[in-house]
Amino acid sequence: MSPHPIDILLTFGLLSLLAVGGANALAPEMHRILVDSRGWLDDATFSQLYALAQAAPGPNILSASVMGMAIGSWSGMALATIGILTPASLLAWTVAGWLDRLRGAWWIRPAQAGLVPLALGLMGASGFILGEAAASFWLAPAITAGTALFSWLSNRSPLYALLAGGLVGVGVFGLGLP
């Protein structure tokens, strides 16, 4: 039996407001609600769908769309996507409005500048966490380090480094190395 559409919408709407720091921070909470509390998905399906969403380009928050599709097909996907995006976007819209109105205030620029360490620190941390998760074969940390140097020191598109990383992965697999 598929859950009620309003229920799907509200569940993902609530998740949207819990997702401080993006979707990677959201995964444990999403698992708790969708698998343990609602029982809409089983454990194996959840982890496979999550990995699938991470393999795709774009924001990892789309793992919510993937879960919605597994829960309630196409309408589930639409409801989950709308649910996960709307509350957060409305909040961002409101904050952007305050920012606009407060533009002249002397403290707004230094206050915003104070958020730079959070932006850079969390960006670096996500690199470490993703790197650890991706270290599934012996050469993976070297790919991570090489790409970090490439995108730091070079102004070329990082797409080259991503492609190179993929090809190294295929090479390692093709040579039968662990």
Binding site: Q54, W93, V95, G124, F128, G131, N155, L162
Partner: protein
Amino acid sequence: MTACPALTALDKPRRNALAARMSQPRVPSCGELFLGFLQIGGLAFGGAVAWARQVLVDSRGWMTERDYAELLGLAQVLPGPNIGNFAVMYGRRCHGLAGALSALGGFFLLPLGVVISLVLLWGEFGGNPWVGAFMKGVAAAAAGMALGAALKSGFRLKPPPEQIAAIVAIAALAAWWRVPLLWIILVFGPLCVGMSLRRALRVPKA
């Protein structure tokens, strides 16, 4: 953020170059916003933050390094997808509701299409080991990209020493000790903003 009127008399490449030199970024149209964020969303393997920096600061020059890092900091403190929030706020700043919808729509269009296709292909090719090996390599490289983007921004912005200490502490707490994000934001948000305000008060206003 309004473009200098004299600039509009020049053709596009020269206008961009001049605007970049004057460090007065050009305001993109709704169509350009849509395409720019379409590119960010379509390229963003393993997270969109590093790609947003690459497209908005390096390749299109719509934002300065500082503008980008400040707005991103705010987008990360708010709940929801970081670059989704960023798209709403930057789009609103450029063209109000139309700008916010253009940026947000562009950002989600391609990834949503890809994710849906992936679910549909899931049963068919998910088990192919060659595809798996390629994706593992891409995932490792994507992690390096996030590290590289943080290093690049950090070295260009040259934050004051107390902010460098905060960056290192935040990265260590989040990556090494896996401290829940909410706590990091509740502690370091006010702390870093306070330090920054204190510095601004000590230095005479320019």
